[in-house]
Symmetry: C2
Subunit: 230 residues, 2 copies
């Protein structure tokens, strides 16, 4: 079994867990608090970022999209219609673009800020950046959530899955991101019927179950978080 250094409230880490889950491959999970800059962890990844996968031979593979490519090259290519990348280079580019959209753009405009202010700061010692949440950062992130929901709704309304006719990494990246925002009660699902229908389908997949069981100390999810028929 491979090992994943992760944090339950990082979208990039949830994305990797979903991807292995789709391939029915269990991971041994180690929760890492990257802000503590643990020496043993920095020895694996000098950048100090998550996720880090210990692949075959305990070689560290660093970063969500790098792990996704590795997973495709070592497993995905053999999965035929369960592969999470397409065969055609242009279709692959579209899947990768959407992964970047959620794991880089939504992350930097929305997810990172809400997670830092609402989840991490209350848990972090002051010397490492903990303390009271910054309400202006929360407000700015909340204003951006709407644009990302609108875009997701548009994608889900024009395609069966977000990147086309089959489920791909794009769906996992989007669902990983939205699952964190949903945990925090930051998503207004009304008026986003197509996105909601797509997310319900994602939530019902066996790969999603472990995410719905995630809990953060001192912060319960919204009532409908783990509800498959929300």
């Amino acid at each position: 079994m491979l090992t994943l250094f992760h944090h339950p409230m990082f979208a990039t880490c949830r994305f990797v867990r979903l991807a292995f889950g789709e391939f029915n491959e269990e991971l041994s999970l180690i929760e890492e608090k990257p802000w503590t800059r643990r020496k043993e962890f920095l020895a694996l990844n000098a950048a100090g970022t998550l996720p880090v996968l210990l692949a075959e031979g305990d070689v560290p593979i660093i970063g969500a999209h790098v792990i996704a490519e590795y997973l495709d090259e070592t497993r995905g290519v053999l999965k035929r219609d369960r592969r999470l990348l397409a065969e055609d280079p242009l279709d692959r580019a579209e899947i990768r673009r959407l992964c970047d959209w959620y794991l880089v753009k939504t992350e930097s405009e929305v997810t990172r800020h809400l997670v830092r202010e609402r989840v991490l700061k209350p848990l972090m010692p002051e010397a490492l950046g903990g303390g009271s949440p910054d309400s202006s950062a929360i407000r700015a992130a909340r204003a951006n959530v709407r644009q990302h929901m609108k875009y997701t709704n548009w994608l889900a309304g024009t395609r069966h899955w977000l990147a086309g006719p089959r489920i791909t990494y794009a769906d996992l990246a989007a669902a990983a991101t939205l699952s964190i925002l949903d945990y925090l009660g930051e998503i207004d699902w009304s008026g986003h019927t197509a996105a909601r229908e797509w997310y319900t389908r994602m939530k019902s997949r066996p790969s999603f179950r472990p995410l719905l069981a995630d809990r953060v100390r001192g912060l319960s999810p919204v009532a409908h978080y783990a509800d498959l028929d929300f």
Copy 2:
């Protein structure tokens, strides 16, 4: 000939130009100022980011690493020992990790700030974010340059090319980034002998020539910028 929407002072765009240059494939370049949020450009890339490649059939391919994968899949795999990615999945992961290091980490800790404050702000209208440079942002970025030079020097001192025995995307990502910092005179090469030797090799490659000819209005490069024997 394919078209690249780019900005001469974005490392991600220089990286793509170097990659096509290594394959001797000319690009038609269109300089884009993403902060103006030009409607025709947003229609190609809703995220409004650079670089954007118009691939075969004018299909937009968005983002440096997505373009690099597309280039590898459609050209690189046929290049044998001139391929810019490795064959082995673990070696590929290391190359991608280093691309992320320079195009994401160095970018967010150093390059983006120095380019914004020193290059873009003086050119941008005030309504779009222009104005006087923020000296504290410049100071913070400059403090970080040292760490990134130290790391590059370590890589260059332990491997012939940054990711191993052959030139790869990792070298292009690093050189694209350092070429911008060097243009701005932000690199102290003394004490970084291995990095300097590696960068001299990079600078001498035909793919690098167009970058050394780049000029930004109102801001000349340091004297040694285009000097192959600096």
